[in-house]
Subunit: 210 residues, 2 copies
DNA sequence: TTTCTACTCATACTTAAGACTGATTTTTCC
DNA sequence: GGAAAAATCAGTCTTAAGTATGAGTAGAAA
């Protein structure tokens, strides 16, 4: 019997899952939680075989909860069950040590299969997630332009992206205009752009602002 | 007996809802669909009392489906049941003619209440949605700076936001550098910013790019 | 018909931006 | 302790950016 813990802030999803598992002969739900903190507490107490974890939750999100559970109980098998696939979710979840990643658009059968597979020590990932991970791995070697920026240059880029002029930057950082110009030139060169506007656009497109 | 149609691409949510409604004596589920198009077809055929509609779906999303259903059957009562509240979802849904707006974090009881309320001709909206609608109404009068831009100026702003220099804009639009400068000056003045970088930032912050 | 707006182009002027070169000081790292 | 990187400042030079002002044309609206 596979003992399951459901952590999801949508009552309807928990209800759907538990009513589905209730007709599966080899599975039973031993706990439900509506946020990551509650989920963590039940996980430590109940030691379920598999934890189904949502990511977006109040109080404590799924990533943090996953980390917290695994820190205390490293053998835990946690399957992320969430709505969307985006880089900001998938990679942190993987880094946190999740054993699986499923989309909520998955059918009941797929979810059951993922649970059985993970229970038998076989991690289960959505095809799209696998592709993302491979792509991410391929990008590991590639250099990201703005990683080359020094701390000071990053500060200056921030101010450029907020519409500051060179003189305003100089005043804000208590340095001379000349120094700001040097920084700006270096930034443009490192980001391979031609002017401060393109630098600001780069910052926005790469989510470096604020 | 309130006859319900569930339209949601998450099987688990449909399962949760239908298993909850199965224990409600005054409700029954007469149909389920996993995308907006399917939902539309069933809606027209079954004419349910209340339609619970998700927004994010493949094939046809909830907004489009809502419009399509109401165009053909204006008396339909459609309650949006979705994960997030954001302006790009709430207002189009309201414009489409939804009779209610609920969050998936709502409890089963709240959902049932919303259904009964809507069934009795009383639209039901999540508190946060109501607040958004009021705020939106209050902003109706306020002028939005970039609404003042002419079509040509909007084109120029687009190119500025893509990092084009004035000369490049001139070449792209087959006009002289002088004319571009005129446009740029007018844009800066209308957006109340000081230079093209701030204009590009304005465009990014107001989601005008691409 | 006339008025108004959008779009176009031009001249002249001012200045901030950016490139290039070179230099000093501090910090970091081996 | 010494090499390397980061941060600072300066001088010079070129040009793109932006302002101000004026003006012509076409089309829409009144």
């Amino acid at each position: 019997m596979i003992r399951l813990l459901l952590i999801d802030d949508h009552q309807m999803v928990r209800l759907g899952l538990s009513s589905y598992f209730s007709i599966q002969e080899d599975m039973t739900v031993v706990g439900e939680a509506e946020d990551g903190l509650q989920g963590y507490e039940i996980a430590i107490k109940e030691k379920p075989d598999i934890i189904l974890m949502d990511l977006v939750m109040e109080v404590m999100d799924g990533i943090e909860s996953t980390q917290k559970i695994l820190r205390e109980w490293p053998e835990a098998k946690i399957i992320i069950l969430t709505s969307f696939i985006d880089d900001e979710k998938v990679f942190p979840a993987m880094d946190a040590g999740a054993s699986g990643y499923l989309l909520k658009t998955s059918s009941a059968g797929e979810i059951a299969e993922a649970i059985r597979s993970t229970y038998n020590g076989d991690p289960y990932f959505e095809t799209e997630v696998t592709e993302k991970l491979i792509e991410h791995e391929n990008n590991k070697g590639k250099l990201i332009l703005h990683d080359e920026l020094t701390n000071r240059e990053k500060e200056v880029l921030q101010l450029i992206s907020q519409g500051y002029s060179n003189q305003e930057i100089a005043d804000a950082l208590f340095i001379t205009l000349k120094t700001v110009k040097t920084h700006v030139s270096n930034i443009l060169s490192k980001l391979q752009v031609e002017d401060r506007t393109q630098a600001a656009i780069y910052a926005f497109r790469h989510d470096l602002v604020e």
